[in-house]
């Protein structure tokens, strides 16, 4: 097996073969999820805890469904309302939960590196559901699978990631994953939303949408957070939409069969035109959500196999 880690903390640590193994496994789960009876018992008896220190609806729901469909006992913890408010540190929270013997912890945290810190302190598998501005590996994997299913391949594609790159962990994970598999990645956005050191990333950077979208196979739009469109990073939402919002006109520069993606939740009329988002000829935004559950099932499945293998081999946890 190519993917043999205990945790999934980021794309950076994954070999291309491991990425492909996850995607292949996930393909099967897409099929399972389309059946009326969607459940399996692969994870039955295992306990999954979802710890979200940051608000999330779709990602948390996706992880919850994924666990339940595989037969795990899933518990959701709303961390914002809990003991961290009483002054407990992240490590103590981790140790407390660890003592309850979970098998899988899914963590989202507003600070970069926090999920790794937590993973060092627990005995079970940890999945990074987003840490600060660092990584969001499951999103990148589901994006990759969506692209592969739509395009039939996941290499030698020209892919544009557009918008708020600086504050996006989705952009970082996608950039790493797509580059690893041999695609050409372009970043498009205003200079205020580009991360520092961008010239050393080995990607093409564009400030103009039309020239950036020229002949691309895939366009990935990113969400622009409300607090960043009031003059702090861009002057206003309408100016942003005019220059960097994706509409049919700008999309004309891309290839005819271009697909349009968005990790959600979308701001219609800010980063993407509402009609375009629903255009089934280009938009694969709903496919991303569907595939997301399957990718998360595949990751949990593979991680649990990795852990049971460690036990068989005498590598005690």
């Amino acid at each position: 097996m190519a993917f043999c880690d205990r945790h999934l903390l980021g794309i950076e640590q994954l070999e291309p073969a491991a990425i492909l193994e996850i995607l292949n496994t996930a393909d099967n789960y897409v099929d399972l999820n389309r059946q009326t009876k969607k459940n399996s018992n692969i994870l039955s008896g295992l306990t999954q805890i979802n710890m979200f220190f940051e608000n999330s609806t779709r990602t948390q729901a996706s992880f919850e469904l994924a666990g339940k469909r595989l037969g795990a006992d899933v518990m959701n913890m709303a961390m914002q309302a809990s003991s961290i408010k009483k002054g407990e540190t992240l490590i103590d929270t981790a140790l407390t939960l660890n003592a309850m013997n979970p098998d899988l912890i899914v963590v989202r945290h507003p600070q970069s590196g926090a999920v790794k810190l937590l993973a060092e302190k627990v005995n079970c598998s940890v999945i990074n559901a987003g840490d600060g501005l660092h990584e969001h590996p499951t999103q990148a994997l589901l994006d990759a699978l969506t692209i592969r299913r739509a395009k039939g391949r996941l290499q030698r594609l020209s892919i544009a990631i557009c918008g708020d790159i600086a504050h996006s962990r989705v952009a970082r994970s996608n950039l790493i994953l797509l580059s690893k598999l041999g695609n050409r990645v372009r970043l498009i956005g205003p200079r205020t939303l580009m991360p520092s050191g961008i010239s050393e990333f080995g990607v093409e950077v564009f400030e103009d949408m039309r020239s950036g979208l020229n002949d691309v196979d895939v366009v990935m739009m990113l969400r622009l957070q409300r607090e960043r469109m009031d003059g702090s990073f861009v002057p206003s939402a309408r100016e942003y939409y005019h220059r960097w919002g994706l509409d049919n006109k700008k999309l004309l520069s891309a290839k005819k069969d271009v697909i349009v993606m968005h990790p959600g939740p979308m701001n219609r009329g800010v980063e993407i035109d509402g009609t375009l988002a629903d255009d089934i000829n280009h938009s694969v935004i709903q496919d991303q959500v569907e595939v997301g559950v399957a990718v998360r099932m595949a990751i949990m499945d593979l991680l649990s196999r990795n852990v049971s293998k460690e036990i068989v081999n005498g590598d005690s946890l």
């Binding site: 992240l90 600070q111 810190l117 990584e135 520092s196 050191g197 990333f201």
Partner: protein
């Protein structure tokens, strides 16, 4: 009491030389330094120490040590800081006023002086705050504080952003001939940042600041120094961008000096790795190019002073996600061993090193130490530059163990430390 250190490699930063010789100590002072094969009458000495193969240098004068008294004695006390200093070859500590509360009145300064005198064999000279509570609003009683023994004035890492208050404080300090130490950073840019901007921080998703923040802070301060004529010392510079304005100011004859922390000379941002919080310091670790520029600037004398920027933090304040974790690293005990890396890799000579560790800080803060001159107090460090060892942070004397050099292979160890001719560290220091 007469002591002879014989056959030592004597490091003299004033003569810019290392020479084999003998150094004798009498009544706490250096009574004689001889380099020739003069006949020595060993009988007159109470103690003759054979230093063959070892080096003797003026004791380190560490500027900007934080001793967490008052307020956080669980992180560091005068006693433990002194033990750490002695073990590190530091014979004089110039302390920071960023305690809780800040040292901003003569009464608080008196507490520091009392504690220092009762528990510490190390020479301790305190700095005091430039503004009340280091809040950058009202200047402290600079005159009274100076009379009470403050040798420098600084708000530490709190930058006075209001230029009117800053220039008035500097003017007043200048009128009394006082030395002010500043932290050259633009605090609107540094706010919230815990790393240096660039590829590393972008990939790690850490909020970062561009090194230009240091240059802006530096240029602002230089303009006000030029206006007011105050004696000014920059606590730490850390980026190549800062060197050109500093050189310009010095060549224009301005009375400015600058320091650098040993951490910025020996580590770079890549050492942070996977969010290792012991590497979180202020200003944040920089690129390798910046590190090399700083090493070069120490060698050519643009940067005057190397200090440890000793900042104790307890385990709890470091066992947090990187952004939340406290800044700072302990450094008293490792400053010499870490500095010797720069000697071993050929980027700096031993006299240059001790010019920055001992001579220049003593000169800048007007302290009668830092040399091997006859008649000056016998504050000395005897060390072996070659002994290899792996640092174990739990072996440190400091109460706080937050060193970035944990489990690092180091080369060079202090054998004995003398203050006023008395051995305060070494195998016979407990007699």
């Amino acid at each position: 009491m007469r002591i002879l250190l014989k056959n030592a490699h004597l490091i003299d930063p004033i003569q810019d030389q290392v020479k084999l010789g003998n150094l004798s100590i009498q009544d706490g002072k250096i009574s004689d330094v001889s380099y020739d094969n003069v006949k020595i009458d060993y009988k007159v000495f109470d103690n003759v120490i054979d230093c063959s193969g070892k080096y003797v240098a003026p004791g380190i004068v560490d500027v900007g040590v934080k001793i967490c008294e008052p307020g956080e004695r669980h992180k560091e006390s005068f006693r433990t800081a002194s033990l750490a200093a002695a073990a590190g070859g530091v014979t004089t500590m110039v302390t920071r006023p960023d305690t809780i509360p800040a040292i901003d009145t003569p009464e608080k300064l008196e507490f520091v002086k009392n504690r220092a005198n009762t528990v510490s064999p190390i020479k301790i000279y305190p700095m005091a705050a430039l503004t009340r509570e280091r809040a950058g609003l009202e200047m402290t009683e600079l005159g009274f504080l100076s009379d009470a023994g403050a040798i420098g004035f600084t708000d530490c890492d709190q930058v006075i952003t209001n230029n009117k208050i800053m220039s008035r404080s500097l003017t007043y300090a200048a009128s009394l001939g006082l030395l002010v130490q500043g932290h050259p950073q633009d605090s609107t840019l540094t706010a919230g940042a815990s790393a240096t901007s660039g590829k590393f921080s972008s990939l790690k998703g850490l909020p970062a600041v561009n090194p230009i923040a240091e240059k802006i802070g530096l240029e602002r301060d230089l303009a006000l120094v030029e206006l007011t004529g105050v004696k000014y010392h920059f606590d730490q510079l850390s980026t190549a961008l800062s060197l050109e304005p500093l050189r310009r100011a010095k060549s224009n004859g301005m009375d400015v000096t600058a320091g650098v922390s040993i951490h910025h000379l020996t580590l770079n941002e890549m050492d942070i790795g996977d969010y290792r919080t012991f590497f979180k310091i202020k200003p944040p670790l920089r690129s390798e190019a910046d590190r090399l520029a700083m090493v070069g600037a120490v060698a050519d004398g643009t940067i005057d002073i190397i200090s440890s920027m000793h900042t104790p933090q307890d385990e709890e304040s470091k066992r947090l996600p990187y952004e939340e974790a406290a800044s700072g690293a302990v450094g008293l005990e490792t400053i010499l061993s870490a500095s010797l890396q720069l000697f071993h890799n050929g980027s700096i000579t031993l006299p240059q090193l001790f010019r920055a560790l001992s001579l220049n800080p003593a000169k800048r803060f007007n302290l009668p130490v830092g040399t091997l001159e006859q008649g000056s107090s016998a504050d000395l460090v005897l060390f072996d530059p070659d002994v290899p060892f792996v640092l174990n942070r739990f072996s440190l004397n400091s109460k706080s163990k937050n060193t970035p050099y944990d489990e690092t292979l180091m080369q060079g160890k202090v054998i004995k430390t003398f203050v006023n001719g008395r051995e305060i560290f070494g195998d016979s220091s407990r007699e």
